[in-house]
């Protein structure tokens, strides 16, 4: 009681300004610290290693056929065993002709089989090469198979060299599924994704990294579209962005 009466008399003796600062400053400090603590709890709901651990410990294994999306872009779709691949459970989309402005949609596929000639309305001769370069820039993690019999053409060399693999047409179901399976194994490798994310996120400054990791931890808890919700500039960090999209998809798939 003596202490309390001592404090009361101290306040009574002090001026109104000293009373104001003496009370408000500590209260404001406590409120701010509490808010910071609450927000930090919110953004670090689940860290990257925790997400990886949850995936690896999940009893559900990655079903690449159900998770992965494959696109065939070719003016002669009959050169591919589409019906057989669909029957085998692959998620297949086909495009006979596209426009260079469709590149953002095409970049969302995990695997793409791409012809060089006659597939781009805006540029029938070299459209495939331009499309491939744009896809590489937008989504460096996408697996691209250059499918063309024009390997004899020196002018098509860049097209074949930029692709992850090369195939001739017509393709058999066996060859197609072997290629797709191999691409899925590489693209959905959680170890590889983790490596990319750790290495690339080190290039971000602290504030951006916190914001980005915060958005990741939120995304694994909800069902929002990762492409819209990841707090990261995909044009500046396309590799990190796409690796994060893949990680979120895998997490949701197995969790």
């Amino acid at each position: 009681m003596e202490y309390i009466s001592g404090v009361v008399s101290w306040f009574e003796n002090a001026s109104w300004l000293a009373n104001f600062f003496g009370i408000c400053v500590p209260v404001a400090g406590v409120v701010l610290a509490f808010r910071k603590w609450v927000s930090s709890k919110k953004t670090t709901g689940m860290s990257l290693p925790e997400v990886i651990e949850r995936i690896s410990k999940s009893p559900n294994k990655i079903d690449a056929k159900a998770l992965g999306k494959v696109a065939f872009v070719d003016d002669e779709i009959s050169d591919f065993p589409i019906a057989e691949l669909k029957k085998a459970g692959y998620q297949i989309s086909t495009y006979k002709q596209v426009s260079l402005s469709d590149v953002a949609v095409l970049a969302t596929y995990d695997v793409i089989f791409l012809d060089i000639k006659g597939i781009v309305k805006d540029d029938p001769e070299e459209g495939g090469l331009k499309l491939l370069s744009s896809l590489r820039r937008l989504n460096p993690n996408q697996k691209i198979c250059a499918v063309s019999n024009k390997q004899y053409d020196v002018l098509a060399t860049k097209f074949f060299e930029q692709a992850d693999d090369v195939a001739k047409k017509p393709m058999t179901a066996q060859k197609c599924s072997d290629l797709i399976d191999q691409f899925f194994v590489e693209k959905f490798s959680v170890d590889r994704i983790e490596q990319v994310m750790v290495a690339e996120s080190n290039a971000l400054d602290k504030a951006k990294r916190n914001e980005y990791l915060g958005s990741l931890s939120v995304l694994v808890e909800n069902q929002d579209d990762p492409r819209k919700a990841i707090k990261l500039d995909s044009a500046v960090f396309p590799k990190l962005f796409e690796a994060t999209v893949d990680l979120v998809r895998i997490y949701r798939h197995v969790a």
Binding site: N149, D153, F160
Partner: protein, 367 residues
């Protein structure tokens, strides 16, 4: 690179005396008196490899640059290195022949642009000319795929591999599968011939070398008949059931070596040997045919070169071994050849020799 040929027509004017490749063009300034008198037979400046300006033994400047593999030398000029302390006679001779590095390089740049324009034009025309190949390649692949399916349907279910199925197939079926396979292999050769970069296309995939050799030997065995109607057999010996990381183009190496051996085989069979070593496998293609002279061992792998003894025996273009070398280089594989004469044995007027082509594939290739 057609610059040399363009200049040799005389239709392109050069401001200075210049040597392009082996061609000398006097240019608007004409040859200097010193060059004409003192270096009439051979010009020291033309054999130098130092780029930029240098001084010749007679005190005149020359400028060297390269465009692609062609060396360009502008000679008999007055550059900065000539200096001012020169004889009156030389001063008079060099009047109107001043040149500095900046002007020289700007001229070389314009030539380089011309060279690129010519190259691009050739590539575009080549691309256009080869365009009709697109559909035949597609059809050949369809044909091969259908022939293999037919072979599978007509074979007993116990026989699984194509080469084993071929062993039991009818003559017509054998010919169909072999011809379709050969057609595709020839198209692959054509692709690499016109675009050597194609040898590196695609990623290496796990393949059975034994399987590749078995298939090629079974396709090529007895397929080609020589002028006497005798079919050359290809015998495959050895085993290796390891898989190797190889590009699709790899098969061109054994295909070219074996088809070359079949083509020039003058006596006996062609033997393909596969031998597993500690960390690699060794492949040997052995046949008896025209000798390859010592000085030709490297030359036979160059484009269009044909061995002295072989060119009189068979028609050919001299591209098979050249293509095998391109693909081998793409895989960091060395192909070696040896030719040992068989005493005094002759085939008509041609001495007989045992020719061996050999290459090794490390287990860790492309890993």
């Amino acid at each position: 690179m057609l610059l040399k040929e363009v200049f040799s027509t005389g239709s392109v004017a050069t401001p200075w005396p210049v040597s392009i490749g082996e061609i000398i063009v006097s240019g608007d300034a004409g040859l200097s008196k010193t060059c004409e008198k003192k270096c009439k037979l051979s010009k020291a400046c033309l054999s130098t490899h130092t780029s930029g300006e240098s001084l010749c033994p007679h005190g005149l400047s020359y400028f060297v640059a390269s465009i692609g593999e062609t060396r360009i030398v502008v000679f008999g000029m007055k550059g900065e290195q000539v200096g001012t302390k020169i004889s009156r006679e030389l001063k008079l001779e060099l009047k109107g022949r001043s040149l500095d590095e900046r002007r020289f390089h700007s001229w070389v740049n314009s030539l380089s642009k011309l060279d690129k324009v010519i190259d691009n034009y050739i590539l575009e025309r080549q691309s256009e000319l080869l365009d009709p190949l697109h559909d035949p390649i597609r059809l050949a692949r369809q044909l091969e795929s259908i022939s293999v399916r037919l072979l599978d349907q007509t074979s007993s279910s116990a026989v699984r591999t194509v080469d084993a199925q071929l062993d039991h197939a009818s003559t017509e079926m054998k010919s169909l599968v072999k011809a379709a396979g050969l057609l595709n292999d020839y198209f692959d050769l054509v692709s690499i011939y016109f675009n050597p970069a194609a040898a590196r296309f695609g990623r290496p995939a796990s393949m059975s070398l034994h399987g590749i050799l078995r298939k090629i030997t079974s396709i090529l065995s007895g397929f080609e008949t020589d002028e006497d109607g005798v079919k050359t057999k290809v015998i495959f010996r050895g085993e290796c059931y390891r898989n190797f990381n190889l590009r699709e183009s790899f098969k061109i190496i054994p295909f070219s070596l074996i088809s070359n051996a079949v083509k020039y085989c003058l006596s006996g069979d062609v033997v393909v040997r596969l031998r597993e070593m500690q960390d690699r496998v060794e492949v040997e293609v052995v046949s008896q045919g025209p000798p390859i002279e010592e000085d030709e061992i490297d030359l036979i792998f160059t484009k269009k070169y044909r061995g002295r003894w072989s060119k009189s025996l068979r028609k050919g273009e001299g591209v098979g071994l050249y293509l095998a070398k391109i693909v081998a280089d793409a895989h960091d594989i060395q192909i070696s050849a040896t030719s040992r004469r068989l005493g005094g044995q002759m085939f008509g007027a041609t001495p007989l020799a045992t020719n061996t082509f050999r290459f090794e594939v490390p287990f860790q290739i492309n890993r």
